[in-house]
Symmetry: C2
Subunit: 356 residues, 2 copies
């Protein structure tokens, strides 16, 4: 079978979903995409591993990047796809329909169709988004081919139920560690209890009032949460160490360094070690091309709270937003399903923005 990029975006979504491509196993789908694009002379195709880039080179004064990942989380008895109607809404149900092959299908269809778009377009379909960051295909592409990331604006087709989600919060994880001295629990006065010493760490978390921060017109909601806690060596030993693993989600107006500084202030007097830091991305909705995009696709505009690959574009100087079909609440769900209307609406929205 070869993918037919002139099929409807709904049928194309189905075809793509039925080619399994769990992270690390995208080769077959990447080959299919590459083969399908070969017939379109207006696209210059570059392949890097299982990442396919297709560019128009029309000499337009502006260039946009439109990207989507082709991998999925593991299949759980939810392929091949089926069409379902639930409460009078028509859906395509199965792994990848929401996250994010419907978005990829719309992109592929428009890549083939738009031979003379209003702006130059760099289409990117990449591997390994659903796994550890170091395996991310978009990150690898940025290392191997940074020149391909030239652009004025980027759209990532992650599911947003057809709305526009601008930028994303940054995320910082730290270990807050308290220390004590071991002793037999029959004689605790000979030791010092590190778990008791963590009372003030949890107290600071429980009392913490997170900010809401407006960035480029969107309100980002911050948060500070313990996600893990562990301490203790045995049931009859006074513990000498307790580690609270804390996640700070911070507005994109705050730098990574500022986020670390803030967390150190919250836990002043405690041992704070940075475990992981990914700065956020400003929504980038204050440029003319972004305003044209929002006007063309319509729908609600809001902030993205979770960290997504838009931050990779932002870090390379390209403002980026998330825009794609599918309710994000169904991403990774066993009953993952996309409303057919959202696929065609997204197709129409992007076409309205990109057509000459």
């Amino acid at each position: 079978m070869t993918l037919d990029l002139r099929a409807s975006s709904i049928d194309l979504t189905r075809s793509i979903c039925d080619i399994r491509s769990v992270s690390g196993d995208e080769r077959v789908l990447a080959d299919e995409i590459q083969a399908a694009l070969a017939g379109y002379d207006h696209l210059h195709v570059v392949r890097d591993g299982d990442c396919i880039v297709a560019r128009t080179e029309l000499g337009r004064d502006r260039r946009v990047i439109i990207a989507g990942h082709i991998d999925t989380v593991p299949v759980n008895d939810n392929l091949p796809t089926v069409f379902e109607t639930i409460d009078a809404v028509d859906y395509l149900t199965g792994r990848g329909t929401v996250d994010m092959k419907a978005g990829v299908a719309v992109q592929l269809k428009l890549a083939a169709e738009l031979v003379d778009p209003a702006v130059d377009i760099t289409w990117m379909w990449y591997d390994n988004e659903e796994v550890a960051s170091e395996r991310n295909g978009l990150g690898r592409l940025a290392r191997n081919h940074p020149e391909l990331f030239a652009g004025d604006f980027a759209v990532l087709g992650e599911p947003t139920a057809g709305g526009v989600e601008g930028g994303c919060n940054g995320t910082l994880r730290v270990d807050v560690t308290t220390r004590g001295r071991r002793a037999h629990s029959a004689r605790p006065w000979a030791g010092a209890n590190a778990i008791h010493a963590a009372a003030d760490v949890l107290g600071a978390l429980a009392r913490y009032q997170p900010r809401e921060v407006e960035v480029d017109g969107l309100v980002y909601r911050e948060s500070l949460n313990a996600v893990m806690i562990s301490g203790g060596v045995a049931k009859n030993v006074i513990p000498d160490e307790c580690v609270v693993h804390v996640n700070y989600r911070f507005a994109p107006s705050r730098s990574g360094d500022e986020a670390v500084q803030h967390v150190r202030e919250v836990f002043d007097g405690f041992d704070v070690t940075v475990a992981d830091l990914a700065p956020g991305a400003r929504p980038g909705l204050d440029t003319p091309i972004a305003r044209e995009f929002v006007a063309a696709v319509g729908g609600p505009v809001g902030p993205k709270y979770g960290w997504t690959d838009v931050a990779r574009f932002s870090a390379m100087g390209v403002p980026a937003v998330n825009y794609g079909p599918g309710d994000p609440i169904k991403a990774h769900a066993d009953d993952e399903r996309v409303a057919l209307d959202e696929i065609t609406a997204c197709e129409a929205g992007l076409r309205a923005w990109l057509r000459p």
Copy 2:
């Protein structure tokens, strides 16, 4: 080799230590003890597994139980024993010298020697004290032969550096659990953080003022400590459960039920589940026979903070104390060693109490 119960208590300690008897592997030593006792007609011997009981049956109006365990923690290149002199103190060094074969040697020597003691004596040497409670040989003997536990007073030869340690604290372990609701940590407001909810649990522990309680003239120091804490499901998920494992050591004047009630009050409003409960033992030093014992052996009298098998005697209605040679700080240590003077002092103390 057969044990010679007429040897000095020091030589007998050495002989017993050099017969390895790590918990679960006491058979050879139990056989040796049984064989050595066979020549003494004033003793009626009962064997239960690797537990040996030897009783005088002289029709005295009072009976005391004197007991010791014959197992040790694992050997760590510290057998056979050696004599050492450190800072002008003579020691026998090696696994089991402190915990508690010196005590067993003194007991065996006196069992053989005292053919006409002032009181009837039930000697008990038992297996599997250093491992899980359900394997404990004294517990098994109590289930199989409760009649052997008739007595007015019991002495357990655990190392006390020659002092008398009366009774023991009880110990209660509970799980204090907080619950929340999972959510992605990018949208924590959709969930409820169970680790944050544990702030008040740790706060209560940090503020807790433990009691000091006088029981039968001895002051018991209580304590309440978190020994383990765990919570969290993944680094990007708001945790829905946090469990604090708490150990309450309580004076023997408080019953197990009262201890549970007290802990429930401390953690009022939280889910408290009892994991393990072992009531303490009153020192039992207010009876005439106990006062005679203390007067005979001399030395300091204090409370025992850790739970020991004296509580098994106490639970069967027999007041019990710990009294034996060896510094408890050296129990289980790789350089385990007993001062020779403590062995002979303990022998003299028990003889002074028991002789006609």
